[in-house]
């Protein structure tokens, strides 16, 4: 309780009062109250769709609220424009780095508040000097004349953060999942910046990662379904507590789909080989990839970003066909150069970027679901029969538990999880023999994730083989029969279900082969 007295002494810089924002289908932010104090790092955590981003977007003037007020230093605002918010000292760093790609580092940092000479022209010398000084202080060693698009995403994001903290030097800074695109090393730099500059600032820190929140924040607010569930000092919290607050129904966490399914390792010799890769190679991306997938089998590709997992799938699907080596589908050698050729052989690909590559958001749920099989819904004159299309879409909506008002609703109004179910339903409709699932659970909340994993395990494996990747290992371990570990484009090892061990697989993914072998030997 000593701690909470300490908090009371800190000056409140900004407040949110009964803030509400409604979107079609959801109340994104529901009557939320929050205080942001000087010198305090306020973490906000919650599932996807909990309302974190909407809340801070309203707070920083990007979108208008439907109800409620924002109080900044005793001034009450019914709504804020972005420019007003900025002049009130609210700065936001979004998930994707907001930068001008063709401009240099120093131009980006000082845009739009350039330092001017007395005659009104921009003082580039001074800007360059200051940029160098700031980068030195932070401990970054990059050439300030580099163009932004020549830098890594992680570095771009870090520079956006540095801009808020050092150049804008705003008293209130919102970091909306800014750390997600940072590398491990850059993340440490972010933490040191925050620790150094937190003194006179209120920092709002949004993240998906509980360890990060516990590490850096002073106070944590948990959001669920747009409501504020709890605001608590970080001292009174640990991982389990936060997780149960986030999920609200902790039992679902222990549920393992894999335990119910039989071990396929012995049976699979009898089964049909669906996919056979022989010495697949793409210079600089992957090499010596040999892999077999049987019918009814789920093979997981475990690897970090850049390990070649996505590229291998894209090669099989005909999206990225510049490889050498052999791909056999059902015993027949194929080389797809376009996705429609793969679709003809009933090989389907679920793209990692759902919004950009998966759905057509202005079209209806029905049109999205039927796009692959329109051919089969035609009569002998080539006309698409409406009721057949409706039957198909209704069947898929039911089977995949897609939550929409009716099949004619546009996909853009659905939540991320439901959009993903639409994409799954779409590729399922063609009755494929091979699924290539690239991060099917990316950016989806835990309960929907379980539904999707169940669908994959129970429905998709019926007549097909599956190759899939996920960003976290837990999902792979839940449903895969075999996990292939990739590191820098090479297969490090294959592990069958009975030998799954998260730590070993994780070490393999990090390229710690020696360490890995030692542990194996130790067994």
């Amino acid at each position: 309780m000593v701690n909470s007295d300490k908090f009371k002494k800190k000056r409140i810089l900004a407040q949110i009062r009964n803030l509400t924002k409604v979107y079609p289908g959801v109340i994104a932010v529901d009557n939320v109250y929050m205080d942001f104090r000087e010198g305090e790092i306020h973490g906000i955590i919650g599932k996807n769709g909990a309302g974190k981003t909407t809340l801070v977007s309203v707070f920083s003037g990007i979108i208008p609220p439907d109800k409620g007020e924002i109080i900044i230093r005793n001034k009450i605002f019914k709504k804020l424009s972005r420019i007003e918010a900025k002049s009130q000292g609210i700065d936001i760093v979004t998930q994707e780095p907001q930068i001008i790609p063709m401009n240099t580092v120093f131009e980006n940092l000082y845009l739009p508040d350039f330092i001017l000479k007395n005659n009104g022209s921009i003082d580039w010398e001074k800007i360059k000097m200051r940029t160098m000084k700031i980068l030195k202080e932070v401990g970054l060693d990059i050439d300030i004349n580099m163009r932004m698009n020549d830098l890594s995403i992680s570095m771009q994001q870090l520079l956006a953060i540095i801009k808020s903290f050092y150049i804008n030097n705003s008293p209130i800074i919102v970091l909306d999942e800014s750390s997600a695109s940072l590398s491990e090393f850059d993340r440490e730099i972010l933490f040191s910046i925050i620790r150094r500059k937190k003194e006179k600032k209120a920092i709002i820190y949004i993240s998906h990662r509980t360890d990060e929140i516990l590490n850096i924040c002073d106070v944590v607010t948990v959001l669920r379904d747009g409501k504020r569930i709890k605001t608590e000092s970080v001292i009174n919290l640990d991982k389990e507590k936060i997780s149960s607050l986030i999920i609200g129904n902790p039992k679902r966490l222990d549920f393992k789909i894999n335990e119910k399914a039989p071990d396929l390792t012995k049976e699979q010799a009898k089964k049909k080989k669906i996919l056979n890769l022989v010495n697949l190679k793409f210079v600089g991306k992957y090499e010596n990839i040999s892999l077999v997938v049987h019918q009814g089998e789920i093979v997981g590709l475990a690897g970090l970003r850049g390990s070649g997992r996505t590229e291998i799938m894209k090669a099989i699907a005909g999206i990225d066909p510049s490889y050498s080596g052999k791909i056999e589908i059902n015993g027949k050698e194929v080389k797809f150069t376009k996705p429609y050729q793969a679709c003809k052989e009933r090989v389907v690909y679920l793209p990692e970027e759902r919004e950009r590559e998966g759905i057509i958001d202005i079209l209806s749920v029905e049109s999205n679901l039927s796009i692959l099989v329109l051919k089969k819904l035609r009569n002998k004159f080539g006309m698409i029969i409406k009721y057949k299309e409706r039957n198909l879409s209704e069947k898929l909506i039911k089977k995949f538990e897609i939550k929409c008002f009716n099949p004619e609703q546009e996909v853009k109004y659905l939540s991320g999880g439901n959009k993903q179910k639409v994409v799954l339903g779409k590729i399922y409709s063609d009755n494929p023999i091979l699924y290539l699932l690239d991060e099917p659970t990316k950016g989806i909340d835990i309960s929907t994730k379980m539904v999707i994993l169940e669908i994959i395990k129970k429905e998709l494996t019926k007549n097909a083989g599956i190759v899939m990747t996920t960003s976290g290992l837990e999902d792979l371990m839940k449903i895969c029969d075999k996990i292939v570990i990739l590191f820098e484009g090479k297969i490090i090892d294959e592990v069958y279900k009975k030998d799954f061990d998260e730590r070993k697989i994780y070490l393999g993914m990090q390229g710690l082969v020696k360490n890995y072998e030692v542990t194996i030997g130790g067994n």
Binding site: V22, P24, G25, I27, A317, I319, K338, P339, Y340, A342, C343, K344, Y349, P351, R356, E357, G358, I359, I360, D361, I362, L363, S367, I371, L372, L374, K375, R378, G382, M383, I384, K386, F405, Y413, K426
Partner: protein, 333 residues
Amino acid sequence: MTKIKLKILDHIIWVILVILIIVNAIIIPRFFTYGNLINILYHSSVLGFLVIAESLCLITGNFDLSIESTVAFAPAVGVLLMMKWVPGFSPILAIIVTLAVGALIGLLNGIMIAKFNINPFLQTLSFLIILRGLTYKLIPMSIFNLPQKFIFLGSQRVLFNIPVAVLVMLLAIYLVHIMLTKRMYGRSLIAIGGNERASFISGIDIKKVKIIVFVISGMLAAFAGIIAVGRQQTITNAMGEGLVFMAFAGAVMGGVSLNGGVGSALGMLGGLLVLGVIDNSLTMLGVDAFMVYAVKGMLIFVAIMLDNSKTKMREMILFKEELIKLGHSARDA
């Protein structure tokens, strides 16, 4: 109730058309006669084909500026074959050649845009200028006394005094309706306009679909040219000038989105007829021809504002519906 509201909003152009017709029928004595209404359709027929052509390109997220030059260039080749180059060339064959020239122009546009990723604006702009230049060169003077079979489509009237051109245009609208709602190809057009990358990954041959849409567009423009030649019973080198902007106007007023992925045949017809009625009524009121042009321009402006508020109104209606539903479910729980 919500469904009806949304339906009305989707067909708002028809509501406007009906209001326009009623107002005109009251203030202009000879407006609401069979002859005049047929006349409006007849005068709209050339633009009609261009509106369809432009709309189809817009639905895929592309556009075609070159159609207005094709209107003159394609029939010019056909007419010259008959009248100058090959004595005794069959008029029917000349029509086929005209359509083939239109298709060829479309094919070139399509290949450059789909295969070589040339920006559709630049590609079709260059053809707009090239073809107009060639037309000036080919027919420096108007050519008269064209064979009856060649001008049949544009000049003849059949049953109930309805021009063939009108029937053909309505048939084309109907075919486009079938294509967009019931045919694989039409659905692929809409899908590509909605999200090209997702369509590609879903196994649509997007290059083929795009090339074909430009071929269709070129052929429709050539057809519009044949009708235009028939209507004025002569071919001039200025035929079609300025029409592409009206084609854009008709398409946008009919609810076709400039971002692609949205559009219906019924809407195209509505947009076309609104333009036709305005044109007709202003002329009958004796408004100066240049003023008519300006008024049409203002109308396009109004259409854009309308389109803008339409999306907002649509979201408002949906939003209210959601609120009611959410309120109910909250009470139930």
